[in-house]
Protein backbone atom coordinates (compact mmCIF):
# COMPACT_ATOMS: atom_id res chain seq x y z
CA UNK A 1 0.00 0.00 0.00
CA UNK A 2 1.72 3.12 -1.34
CA UNK A 3 2.19 5.17 1.83
CA UNK A 4 -1.49 5.23 2.74
CA UNK A 5 -2.85 4.47 6.17
CA UNK A 6 -6.42 4.43 7.39
CA UNK A 7 -7.63 4.68 10.96
CA UNK A 8 -9.32 3.05 12.64
CA UNK A 9 -9.14 -0.25 10.75
CA UNK A 10 -12.24 -1.58 12.47
CA UNK A 11 -15.05 0.22 14.24
CA UNK A 12 -18.38 -0.73 15.71
CA UNK A 13 -20.73 2.10 16.53
CA UNK A 14 -24.37 2.66 17.34
CA UNK A 15 -27.02 4.23 15.13
CA UNK A 16 -27.15 7.99 15.52
CA UNK A 17 -23.58 8.50 16.71
CA UNK A 18 -21.03 10.54 14.77
CA UNK A 19 -18.07 8.74 13.25
CA UNK A 20 -14.89 10.07 11.66
CA UNK A 21 -12.56 8.00 9.54
CA UNK A 22 -9.08 9.21 8.73
CA UNK A 23 -6.91 8.70 5.68
CA UNK A 24 -3.26 9.69 5.84
CA UNK A 25 -0.80 9.68 2.94
CA UNK A 26 2.94 10.21 2.76
CA UNK A 27 3.11 10.49 -1.07
CA UNK A 28 2.18 14.17 -1.38
CA UNK A 29 -0.46 13.30 -3.99
CA UNK A 30 -2.94 16.02 -4.87
CA UNK A 31 -6.05 13.86 -5.21
CA UNK A 32 -7.64 11.84 -2.44
CA UNK A 33 -10.83 9.77 -2.57
CA UNK A 34 -13.22 7.96 -0.27
CA UNK A 35 -15.05 4.86 -1.53
CA UNK A 36 -17.35 2.37 0.07
CA UNK A 37 -17.40 -1.30 -0.87
CA UNK A 38 -20.56 -3.34 -0.57
CA UNK A 39 -21.33 -6.83 -1.89
CA UNK A 40 -22.70 -6.71 -5.42
CA UNK A 41 -21.76 -3.05 -5.93
CA UNK A 42 -18.01 -2.97 -6.36
CA UNK A 43 -16.58 0.31 -5.07
CA UNK A 44 -18.60 3.50 -5.19
CA UNK A 45 -17.19 7.00 -4.82
CA UNK A 46 -18.41 8.97 -1.81
CA UNK A 47 -16.35 12.18 -1.98
CA UNK A 48 -13.03 13.25 -3.37
CA UNK A 49 -10.57 16.07 -2.91
CA UNK A 50 -8.43 17.81 -5.51
CA UNK A 51 -6.46 19.93 -3.08
CA UNK A 52 -6.42 21.38 0.42
CA UNK A 53 -9.94 22.59 1.22
CA UNK A 54 -11.13 21.54 -2.27
CA UNK A 55 -13.65 18.72 -2.24
CA UNK A 56 -16.53 17.47 -4.35
CA UNK A 57 -19.27 14.89 -4.14
CA UNK A 58 -19.27 11.43 -5.62
CA UNK A 59 -22.19 9.19 -6.51
CA UNK A 60 -23.14 8.17 -2.94
CA UNK A 61 -22.42 11.30 -0.88
CA UNK A 62 -25.69 11.56 1.09
CA UNK A 63 -25.05 11.26 4.83
CA UNK A 64 -21.30 11.87 4.50
CA UNK A 65 -19.10 14.92 4.74
CA UNK A 66 -15.36 15.34 4.23
CA UNK A 67 -12.61 17.74 5.12
CA UNK A 68 -9.05 18.24 4.00
CA UNK A 69 -7.06 20.80 5.96
CA UNK A 70 -3.65 19.35 5.05
CA UNK A 71 -2.35 17.66 1.92
CA UNK A 72 -1.70 14.42 3.76
CA UNK A 73 -5.02 14.00 5.59
CA UNK A 74 -8.54 13.41 4.29
CA UNK A 75 -11.31 12.88 6.82
CA UNK A 76 -14.67 11.23 6.21
CA UNK A 77 -17.44 12.00 8.71
CA UNK A 78 -20.76 10.32 9.21
CA UNK A 79 -22.69 12.94 11.15
CA UNK A 80 -25.28 10.46 12.40
CA UNK A 81 -24.47 6.89 11.48
CA UNK A 82 -27.19 4.61 10.10
CA UNK A 83 -27.21 0.85 9.57
CA UNK A 84 -27.10 1.41 5.80
CA UNK A 85 -23.63 2.88 6.27
CA UNK A 86 -22.26 -0.43 7.49
CA UNK A 87 -19.59 -1.07 4.89
CA UNK A 88 -15.89 -1.25 4.18
CA UNK A 89 -14.44 2.17 3.43
CA UNK A 90 -11.39 2.66 1.26
CA UNK A 91 -9.27 5.71 0.80
CA UNK A 92 -7.33 6.20 -2.44
CA UNK A 93 -4.82 8.72 -3.75
CA UNK A 94 -3.56 9.81 -7.15
CA UNK A 95 -1.15 12.43 -8.44
CA UNK A 96 -3.64 13.73 -10.96
CA UNK A 97 -7.19 12.84 -11.92
CA UNK A 98 -5.84 10.93 -14.93
CA UNK A 99 -3.31 8.83 -13.03
CA UNK A 100 -3.96 5.45 -11.48
CA UNK A 101 -5.28 5.42 -7.96
CA UNK A 102 -3.57 3.70 -5.05
CA UNK A 103 -5.70 2.30 -2.29
CA UNK A 104 -5.34 2.10 1.46
CA UNK A 105 -6.02 -1.05 3.50
CA UNK A 106 -9.63 -0.16 4.31
CA UNK A 107 -11.77 0.46 7.39
CA UNK A 108 -14.53 -1.96 8.30
CA UNK A 109 -17.39 -0.01 9.89
CA UNK A 110 -20.36 -1.70 11.54
CA UNK A 111 -23.33 0.38 12.63
CA UNK A 112 -25.60 -1.48 15.06
Amino acid sequence: DAGITQSPRHKVTETGTPVTLRCHQTENHRYMYWYRQDPGHGLRLIHYSYGVKDTDKGEVSDGYSVSRSKTEDFLLTLESATSSQTSVYFCAISESVRDEQYFGPGTRLTVT
Binding site: F90, V97, R98, F103
Partner: protein, 115 residues
Amino acid sequence: AQSVTQLDSHVSVSEGTPVLLRCNYSSSYSPSLFWYVQHPNKGLQLLLKYTSAATLVKGINGFEAEFKKSETSFHLTKPSAHMSDAAEYFCVVRGANFGNEKLTFGTGTRLTIIP
Protein backbone atom coordinates in the same frame (compact mmCIF):
# COMPACT_ATOMS: atom_id res chain seq x y z
CA ALA B 1 -21.53 8.18 -18.76
CA GLN B 2 -19.43 5.04 -18.64
CA SER B 3 -20.17 1.63 -17.22
CA VAL B 4 -18.47 -1.72 -16.87
CA THR B 5 -19.90 -5.22 -16.66
CA GLN B 6 -18.02 -8.18 -15.28
CA LEU B 7 -19.69 -11.15 -16.84
CA ASP B 8 -18.90 -13.70 -14.12
CA SER B 9 -19.29 -13.16 -10.40
CA HIS B 10 -17.33 -16.34 -9.62
CA VAL B 11 -14.72 -18.25 -11.59
CA SER B 12 -13.04 -21.48 -10.47
CA VAL B 13 -10.01 -22.96 -12.20
CA SER B 14 -7.52 -25.66 -11.34
CA GLU B 15 -3.98 -24.72 -10.45
CA GLY B 16 -1.81 -24.63 -13.57
CA THR B 17 -4.72 -24.04 -15.99
CA PRO B 18 -5.50 -20.77 -17.80
CA VAL B 19 -7.49 -17.97 -16.24
CA LEU B 20 -10.03 -15.85 -18.12
CA LEU B 21 -11.95 -13.07 -16.37
CA ARG B 22 -14.35 -11.24 -18.66
CA CYS B 23 -15.13 -7.54 -18.72
CA ASN B 24 -17.21 -5.44 -21.11
CA TYR B 25 -17.31 -1.67 -20.95
CA SER B 26 -19.42 1.18 -22.21
CA SER B 27 -17.99 4.63 -22.78
CA SER B 28 -18.81 7.56 -25.03
CA TYR B 29 -15.16 8.32 -25.60
CA SER B 30 -11.93 6.37 -25.71
CA PRO B 31 -11.70 5.09 -22.16
CA SER B 32 -8.91 4.18 -19.85
CA LEU B 33 -9.35 0.72 -18.39
CA PHE B 34 -7.84 -0.96 -15.37
CA TRP B 35 -7.82 -4.26 -13.57
CA TYR B 36 -7.38 -4.27 -9.81
CA VAL B 37 -6.97 -7.26 -7.51
CA GLN B 38 -8.11 -7.50 -3.91
CA HIS B 39 -6.84 -10.27 -1.68
CA PRO B 40 -8.91 -11.13 1.40
CA ASN B 41 -9.03 -8.30 3.93
CA LYS B 42 -6.67 -6.18 1.87
CA GLY B 43 -6.86 -3.02 -0.18
CA LEU B 44 -6.95 -2.97 -3.96
CA GLN B 45 -3.77 -3.36 -5.97
CA LEU B 46 -3.37 -2.27 -9.57
CA LEU B 47 -2.71 -5.23 -11.89
CA LEU B 48 -2.56 -3.39 -15.20
CA LYS B 49 -3.93 -0.44 -17.13
CA TYR B 50 -4.83 0.49 -20.70
CA THR B 51 -4.53 4.13 -21.71
CA SER B 52 -4.74 4.11 -25.55
CA ALA B 53 -1.27 2.79 -26.24
CA ALA B 54 -0.73 -0.89 -27.06
CA THR B 55 -3.95 -2.91 -27.05
CA LEU B 56 -2.29 -5.88 -25.35
CA VAL B 57 -1.34 -4.82 -21.86
CA LYS B 58 0.94 -6.80 -19.59
CA GLY B 59 0.64 -6.49 -15.86
CA ILE B 60 2.11 -7.89 -12.72
CA ASN B 61 2.20 -11.57 -11.72
CA GLY B 62 1.87 -12.82 -15.31
CA PHE B 63 -1.53 -11.27 -16.02
CA GLU B 64 -2.38 -9.54 -19.25
CA ALA B 65 -5.45 -7.99 -20.86
CA GLU B 66 -6.41 -7.14 -24.42
CA PHE B 67 -8.40 -4.05 -25.32
CA LYS B 68 -10.85 -4.84 -28.14
CA LYS B 69 -12.72 -1.75 -29.23
CA SER B 70 -14.95 -3.60 -31.70
CA GLU B 71 -16.15 -5.91 -28.91
CA THR B 72 -15.98 -3.27 -26.14
CA SER B 73 -14.13 -5.81 -24.06
CA PHE B 74 -11.09 -5.86 -21.80
CA HIS B 75 -10.72 -9.46 -20.64
CA LEU B 76 -8.03 -10.46 -18.15
CA THR B 77 -6.02 -13.60 -18.76
CA LYS B 78 -3.18 -15.62 -17.27
CA PRO B 79 -1.68 -18.73 -18.88
CA SER B 80 -1.27 -20.73 -15.69
CA ALA B 81 -3.10 -20.15 -12.43
CA HIS B 82 -1.28 -20.18 -9.12
CA MET B 83 -2.80 -20.66 -5.68
CA SER B 84 -1.79 -17.11 -4.78
CA ASP B 85 -4.07 -15.78 -7.55
CA ALA B 86 -7.14 -16.55 -5.46
CA ALA B 87 -8.70 -13.14 -4.90
CA GLU B 88 -11.38 -10.76 -6.13
CA TYR B 89 -10.74 -8.91 -9.36
CA PHE B 90 -12.27 -5.62 -10.41
CA CYS B 91 -12.51 -4.21 -13.90
CA VAL B 92 -12.57 -0.41 -13.85
CA VAL B 93 -13.26 2.21 -16.51
CA ARG B 94 -12.37 5.88 -16.43
CA GLY B 95 -14.07 8.42 -18.61
CA ALA B 96 -11.91 10.29 -21.10
CA ASN B 97 -13.75 13.57 -21.38
CA PHE B 98 -12.88 16.54 -19.21
CA GLY B 99 -14.87 16.65 -15.99
CA ASN B 100 -15.77 12.98 -16.16
CA GLU B 101 -12.54 11.27 -15.23
CA LYS B 102 -13.85 9.42 -12.21
CA LEU B 103 -13.50 5.66 -11.94
CA THR B 104 -16.45 3.32 -12.39
CA PHE B 105 -15.96 -0.13 -10.89
CA GLY B 106 -17.41 -3.43 -11.95
CA THR B 107 -19.04 -5.59 -9.31
CA GLY B 108 -16.07 -7.93 -9.13
CA THR B 109 -15.18 -11.51 -10.02
CA ARG B 110 -14.11 -13.87 -7.27
CA LEU B 111 -11.42 -16.24 -8.53
CA THR B 112 -11.02 -19.59 -6.78
CA ILE B 113 -8.04 -21.83 -7.49
CA ILE B 114 -8.58 -25.56 -7.07
CA PRO B 115 -5.46 -27.43 -5.89
